[in-house]
Symmetry: C2
Subunit: 103 residues, 2 copies
């Protein structure tokens, strides 16, 4: 599903990654993180796809909302697990959405 | 492959979409568009994944580079075909990358 986001400006966190071979527990944690993110009032939506690489773009009201989400205790634990166990590589890009259009 | 991008700021075009059932010709055109985009001096890299939805994030030096790419004649033809034949829905979000980190 594509995300329905409000009129810009708002923020995007572009999270692209590759996984190691052993992804035990990854799917469950990724799902839980989305469940958790959705509870934040500044969370606007998310889009996610994976084949060779994974891309998850989450949309946020402002930088403060992203900061709060990044510092969620359960999320911090997941980030640690990700760094240690699941991700071969990743990039996080914080970007201000200035314009949006589509069909 | 994850994109190797320079130190921010730079721009991201987040293109998320769903396809119709008949995607004849889509793959070839998508591939050609990437080949073409890479020739632009302002093109910094691209990341792409698809399963339920497709997400292609291309990175650009500045808004002017994105404008030039958007108005490329061959790209305009592809956009028309996409609107008419391939895309069930899409969103294009133009965003300024302010921060980047990763492993």
């Amino acid at each position: 599903m594509l995300a329905s986001t409000p009129k810009p400006p708002y923020y995007a966190v572009i999270f692209s990654n590759t996984l190691k071979d052993d992804t035990e527990g990854y799917q469950k944690t990724a799902h839980r993180m989305m469940e958790l993110a959705e509870q934040y009032p500044g969370f606007l939506g998310v889009e996610s796809a994976r084949n060779d690489i994974g891309i998850t773009v989450s949309y946020w009201k402002d930088l403060e909302s992203i900061r709060e989400w990044k510092s969620n205790v359960e999320h911090i634990e997941a980030q640690k697990l990700g760094n240690k166990k699941w991700y071969k590589s990743y990039r996080v890009r914080i970007a201000k959405v200035e314009r949006e259009y589509g069909i």
